[in-house]
Amino acid sequence: MKNLLLLALAGLLVGATSCESVVEDLNKDPNNFTDISTTLIVNHTILNTVTVAEAESARNAGMWVDQFTGSDRQYITLDNYGIVNADFDAPWADFYRGGLSQAEIGIQKATEENAPSFLGISQIMKGYYAAEAALQFGDVPFSQAADAVQFPDPVYDGQREVINQAIALLDEGAANVGSLAITGSGTNNVLNTSSSWDQLANALKARYLLSVRDYAGALDAAQDAGFDAASNSVDIIHTTSNFAENLFYQFEAEQRTDYLTFTGSFLIDVLSDTTDVSRTTDKTNDSNRRSFFSYDDGEFVRLNTNIGGFFAADMNFPLVGYPEVQLIIAESAARTGDEELAISSLNNARNYWDGVMGTDDYADLDEDDFDDEDDLINAILLEKFVSVFGLPTFHDVVRTDNAIGTYLDGRDAPLQRFLYPSTEASSNSNYPGLIGLDVPTPINN
């Protein structure tokens, strides 16, 4: 009996220990790479900018300042500020997982490979994601972000500090990549522009300095960006290939028809010639721009996703556009006392649309067209409201406490921030707790 058991036990041990060879080396994923070239990951960080500039965050931001209207399904609730933290799960992951952390990998790889161009681009991208996240959410992870091994639960750094660090990264990145052309230099296939990387870095820097009300700094950076021509716009390329189409087109024409429209929005009322908020004068005729952006099919005033429309399948969409940079110059100049520069830049921005649409709708404005400095600034902000879709405009409305008077759908003041996502609430021990939509972020406090 004893022998039997002993033998059995011995047999079990010998049998199993001898069989390692059978199972060896099978646990290597044949379906995925465990390392990748720097080019491909850097190209991803550039592609991922679309999640900030053109996708869900841009639509939400646009709805909440009434550029757009949520007309169907979940978008009705969203537009009415029926917002829960889980609504921000995907955008937050896009910023951090899809953006910032991949840019950090790019920085590490480019540093190892001693590749200054890729290093610079990765730094600019990291700066971009960090600053955009801070502007939307306030205090956000930065110093401990994107380092899961060291910091599985990153702490939240102060908003101002993150924006400063982001601007420092833009500066470093610009220095590293220099005046390398964005398009055609083989560094990416996502963006179309005549600008170079350092121009993009400066344009972004101007956007962020404006947000923190450093108008002198914003003016310098915007002028350093040298966006002298419409072709300087840094655009995300779209074609009619499946999943290369303009995202507004994909959303409205393919995926979520009726969800996002202009019906009754402040933007469409501004561009109308019959409403109280119309801009129409003998120098300003918005009817073509209105048709460029929208069409009314009786049911809704829809995004113009038709061929040739602003939201057509193959219409590129700006990451940072010429009008935005001109209007940053205009506002910063107006606020720092250079009225002449302010007006000329405003005119540049207006004329841009004539160029794009092949029209002659916008005559040059001059100082007689404005009652005072506030009137000028409001005109600049309003022009930006009808020129730049998404987050930059949202931040303007918050920063200026809705100086232009856009519709707030029943609210007294603009939404101050986006909510921290449920994913951070659920998994980060350093999560600072839910901060409500009405609580200003530090830069607006």
Binding site: D25, L26, P30, I105, P154
Partner: protein, 1080 residues
């Protein structure tokens, strides 16, 4: 080599040991003198025993003091034979009968008496399965034994089923039990059976012809399954197929034909009062005018249909659409006048009575030294959905036994299944059936779905007409259901072979060596055709093809023996080695934005530009091997002890060895058929099984990337931009270890009144430790999830099975039987994360949450104060609002389940019914919520007269006495008018509050009701037939449930672990089946 020498050593040892025993021999025959092959010969009170060989002969070792031989054989009355001193040869004749001892089949394929078994295993006989009339093997088990939960994914033909034994206990591991077919594990994959969108796929278990099955034993506990180590954490189904008979006629045939009719068992009601269009507030009309017709609008919040003039006023000056189906022309509507309601015709466009024809044919042949079972079956099923919904299965099986020499037996089981099926798009899917059908406005006639649009210039183009584009100028946003079922194609084709040869060598009368190999190989080819103009993202058309191949191989080396050590100690031992090898590959090709809109819809993947062609593959190769042993001891006749274990090494963790032990003990208190309490046994066991980590979870990977709002469907594919890769969202973990499931089981089996009443009761407590999950990580860390051994999940429950043979006479019998299961499932630990979402939507999902039952429903809730009362915010006009954070909203697990049935037989006539119930579970009725939004739900079509001055959600006034569409509701801050404003916001399914759509999904159903009649011999004697029977079976004929609009026994996410979600899931069915069986 080492393994082989080990086996030889064990054999030699056992031979030497066993040779010391005293043997007797004999033959076993049937009454007509035919030898019975494989009859069980046991020495009473000992585990010593053997089976008869090909000539019906046996040799068995009898310990000193052994008094009786017990001879049993399926289909014959068990006989006890006294052992007489000095007599060594016995001629035993068995008579055919029905009263056989209950047996079960152990995890390694050995049959044993239930009385000797120490687990809660139950065996279900073939006739019970066949009676269910289900086309899938597993579905037929529903309600027949405790502890097993079987849910069909939907009523689609051939749809898979979810099988759960004793509650869910793993998050990432396989959810379904291990399937052992004739001693070899086979695949039960449900690849991509998640039907958030797409089609409901089949379960691979449906490939088996139910008529081939002899019995299924359900091993519920960990101790019974421990010999499979990491394979068996969810229990085991041991399936035995029929074999050639070793007794009776040399040649016999049995055949049957079944004709079945299926129909939908519950549907959503649609309102027929109001037409397509916008409601009062959005249309700018007063509340008492309800709404305005708007062509193409998604909503049915328009005008009252009965208020209309009777005929449409149309614009015939421009473009128009000509329908293919009726030839009618459709012009733009200027004023809607048509006051017909098309709900009925729109329904009949889609649904029909399904039909099933099942033919099967089996042959038994007994040769000189061999016996054969051959069968063929063919099943043709047309679904309850018209158009491209069907399922055809052909199977062939040959089970062959050869006796090479007296003590060497070879058996080969081979089977082939060929399945061809057409599936229908379902779920959250703009090109899916139920979504388009249910949302269609009541005043829109869906009959013409395809046709030609002629524009103002007279140019023609093919079009797709649906309620959101009545002119078919471009695709309608949602498919016309006619398009979904008739134009879109989703064919699948499965070819599957299972080959399992086995050699048994009886080294000694009480020692057998077995070498068993199993090969299970299938290809599953799936195609999807979205022709140009299909809904959603498929406006430009899309073709895709998936080819799935899976090969599972198993090798077993088993040594099984027994010996009687002394009067009071008998041993039965099994040792073995098992190698498991699984190869899986999936190749996919897709073409989108088709170039040529061919009327033939050929499947040509080149029909797209290069950037619109995509291919993809997934490969995996897994292996594990282990040695196992089972030792059974019978001590002093009544004390039974079993020890078993498996030592295993897996590919996922190649450097470590894992040991899975189990120990069971049982005591027979009484075993005397003459007593009032005829039999009593108590048993206790402890067992451990495991779940290995999935392959490739050990390191970070880089994946081809996309960017945008993938959740909404708009994004850029990096492949269009020169290629982009990003580090994957899941952080790999090289330190993962296996999940361990530990279970204690206590039970007792009783029989009363000469075994007429039986009762089995089992209590279990099982805990999964180190449960692996992709733990949610802060995305700011760079990953959204990280694989971790973090979860602890417990399941405790009680299972009860009972029967009462009220009448047992030769020509009459009446039996009632029942079972009861209660399982309490709890996620004990989920550190560092508030919830893990298994599946579902961002709004409502099925999730794992600490302190909650597994799969808890999770979603948006109302804003409440600490007392749980609604908080009414100032600007909400007396309506509640949503809380900013989601919470638990329901439990999809039943509190208890039960089955109750009866069988009555008199002469050739048999009746049986089986009721089944599941109580206390919740289900999220997402469909209902969305129908509220669209103004389709009857509740939203109520016409209410304001009893007092009311305020709407937007703060509009409705004076007392005013008629409005909607409902007067008091949420707690006084009555308010719930109009479209409310239903289009948080009062509807697209709002942020899912809590309100969670419904009680308890159900009770008449699972089966059968009448059958076996024609008496006097009638068929001259025909040459040996038996003829006819029968009618009703399945799911009636069910009772509070759940609105659908059978809660369906699941949006198919056989996945996410439970309790309903969102435009294709409906369930009830069926009536007529069958004719005969044999000769």
């Amino acid at each position: 080599m080492k393994r082989l020498s080990l086996v030889i050593a064990m054999v030699l040892f056992a031979v030497g040991y066993a040779a010391a025993q005293q043997a007797i021999s004999g033959t076993v025959t049937s009454e007509d003198g035919e030898p019975l092959i494989g009859a069980s010969v046991l020495v009473e009170g000992a585990t010593t025993g053997t089976v008869t060989d090909f000539d019906g002969m046996f040799n068995v070792t009898v310990p000193a003091g052994g008094e009786k031989l017990i001879i049993s054989y399926t289909g014959f009355t068990t006989q006890e034979v006294e052992i007489m001193a000095g007599k060594t040869n016995y001629e035993i004749m068995l008579s055919e009968g029905v009263a056989i001892d209950e047996v079960v089949v152990t995890a390694i394929g050995i049959e044993r008496k239930k009385d000797e078994d120490l687990s809660s295993a139950t065996l279900i006989e073939t006739d019970l399965l066949e009676r269910s009339g289900e086309t899938g093997v597993i579905q037929g088990l529903a309600g027949k034994t405790s502890g097993v939960n079987i849910v069909r994914n939907s009523g689609d033909p051939g749809a898979g089923a979810y099988i759960q034994i004793r509650g869910q206990n793993t998050i990432l591991g396989d959810a379904s039990p291990l399937i052992i077919l004739d001693g070899v594990p086979i695949s039960n994959s449900s690849v991509n059976n998640n039907t958030l969108a797409g089609v409901v796929q089949q379960s691979r278990l449906n490939d088996i012809n139910p008529d081939d099955i002899e019995s299924i034993t359900v091993l519920k506990g960990a101790s019974a399954a421990a010999v499979y180590g990491t394979g068996a954490a969810n229990g085991v189904l041991v399936i035995k197929t029929k074999r050639g008979k070793t007794g009776g006629k040399r040649f016999s045939v049995s055949a049957g034909i079944t004709y079945g009719i299926d129909e939908i068992n519950r549907e959503y009601e649609k309102q027929g009062e109001f037409g397509q269009g916008l409601p009062d507030i959005y249309a700018g009309v007063p509340y008492d005018q309800f709404g305005v017709f708007v062509a193409g609008n998604s909503l049915s919040w328009g005008d009252r249909i009965s208020d209309r003039s009777g005929t449409d006023e149309v614009d015939q000056s421009g473009g128009f659409f000509t329908g293919d189906q009726t030839g009618s022309t459709y012009f733009p509507i200027i004023t809607k006048g048509d006051n017909n309601v098309y709900n009925d015709s729109n329904r009949d466009q889609v649904f029909q009575n399904g039909q099933t024809v099942d033919v099967n044919f089996g042959v038994n042949f007994r040769g000189e030294n061999s016996n054969t079972y051959f069968s063929f079956s063919r099943l043709d099923q047309e679904g309850i959905i018209k158009g491209n919904s069907d399922y055809t299965r052909s199977t062939v099986r040959i089970n062959q036994d050869f006796n090479i020499i007296d003590n060497l037996n070879i058996r080969i089981n081979t089977s082939y299944s060929g399945v061809e099926s057409n599936r229908i798009q379902t779920g959250s899917n703009l090109a899916g059936l139920y979504l388009g059908y249910l949302r269609t406005s009541p005043d829109f006639d869906n009959t013409d779905y395809s046709g030609t649009y002629t524009d103002a210039n007279g140019l023609n183009r093919p079009g797709h007409r649906g309620y959101r584009n009545g002119l078919g100028t471009a695709r309608p946003t949602y498919n016309n259901p006619g398009w979904t079922i008739n134009v879109q194609e989703n064919p699948t084709e499965v070819d599957r072979f299972v080959v399992a040869p086995e050699i048994n060598w009886s080294i000694l009368p009480n020692l057998t060596a077995t070498v068993r190999y199993g090969l299970d190989y299938y290809t599953d080819e799936r195609r999807t055709v979205f022709p140009i103009n299909s809904g959603g993202d498929f406006g430009q058309g899309q073709l895709s093809r998936d080819e799935i191949t899976e090969k599972t191989q198993n090798l077993f080396l088993i040594l099984n023996g027994n010996s009687q050590i002394s009067d009071n100690l008998g041993l039965n031992y099994t040792f073995g080695y098992n190698l498991y090898d699984n190869e899986y590959q999936r190749l996919s090709g897709t073409s989108a934005n088709l170039l040529y809109n061919s009327p033939e819809q050929e499947f040509i993947l080149d029909n797209a530009t290069a950037p619109n062609q995509d291919n993809d593959q997934f490969l995996s190769r897994n292996r594990k091997n282990g040695v196992f042993g089972v030792l059974n001891a019978t001590i002093a006749q009544n004390l039974l002890v079993e020890l078993s274990g498996r030592l295993e090494r897996t590919a996922a963790i190649q450097d470590e060895l894992f040991f899975f032990p189990s120990a069971s003990v049982g005591y027979k208190l009484i075993d005397d058929a003459t007593k009032g309490l005829s039999f009593a046994k108590v048993r206790a066991s402890y067992g451990e099984v495991g779940i290995e980590p999935g392959l490739y979870q050990n390191r970070n990977v880089f994946v081809a990337s996309t960017a945008g709002s993938e959740g909404w469907g708009d994004y850029l594919d990096g492949a269009n931009y020169g290629g982009t890769f990003s580090r994957g969202a899941i952080q790999g973990n090289p330190d993962l270890t296996i999940e361990t499931v530990k279970e204690i089981e206590l039970g007792a089996d009783f029989r009363f009144l000469s075994n007429r009443i039986g009762l089995g009761i089992t209590y279990y407590d099982r805990t999964t430790e180190d449960g692996i999950l992709p733990l949610e990580a802060p995305p700011s860390s760079g990953f959204t999830t990280v694989y971790s051994n973090a979860a602890e999940i417990s399941n405790t429950g009680i299972e009860l099975d009972a029967y009462y043979n009220i009448i047992t006479k030769n020509d009459m019998s009446w039996k009632i039987f029942g079972n009861f299961t209660t399982n309490e499932n709890k996620v004990e630990k989920l550190p560092g994360v508030s919830r893990y979402i298994l599946d579902g939507f961002a709004s409502a999902s099925s999730a794992v949450i600490e302190g909650q039952p597994f799969g808890a429903l999770y979603g948006g809730v109302w804003l409440r104060d600490d007392a749980g009362e609604f908080v009414f915010e100032d600007d909400n006009n007396g309506f509640p609002t949503n809380a900013p954070e989601q919470d638990v909203i329901g439990d999809p697990n039943a509190d208890w389940r039960g089955g109750l049935g009866t069988e009555f037989t008199v002469k050739g006539l048999s009746f049986s019914v089986l009721f089944e119930t599941a109580q206390g579970q919740d289900m999220w009725n997402g469909t209902q919520g969305v129908l509220n939004y669209f103004g389709i739900a009857p509740e939203t079509a109520n016409i209410t007269v304001a009893s007092q001055d009311l305020v709407t959600y937007f703060g509009q006034s409705i004076p007392a006495g005013t008629t409005f569409r909607g409902n007067e509701v008091d949420f707690g801050a006084g009555p308010v008018a719930a109009t479209a404003e409310w239903y289009l916001d948080n009062g509807g399914g697209f709002g942020s509050v899912d809590e309100q759509f969670v419904q009680d999904a308890s159900w009770t159903r008449l699972r089966e009701a059968t009448i059958s009649y076996a024609l008496p011999q006097s009638l068929i004697g001259k025909t040459g037939l040996s038996n003829v029977s006819i029968g009618v079976t009703g399945r799911n004929l009636v069910f009772w449930s509070e759940f609105e609009g659908a059978d809660p026994e369906t699941n949006l996410t198919g056989a996945s672990k996410a439970r309790g979600l309903h969102y435009f899931t294709n409906p369930g069915t009830r069926s009536v089946l007529f069958n004719l069986k005969f044999g000769f």
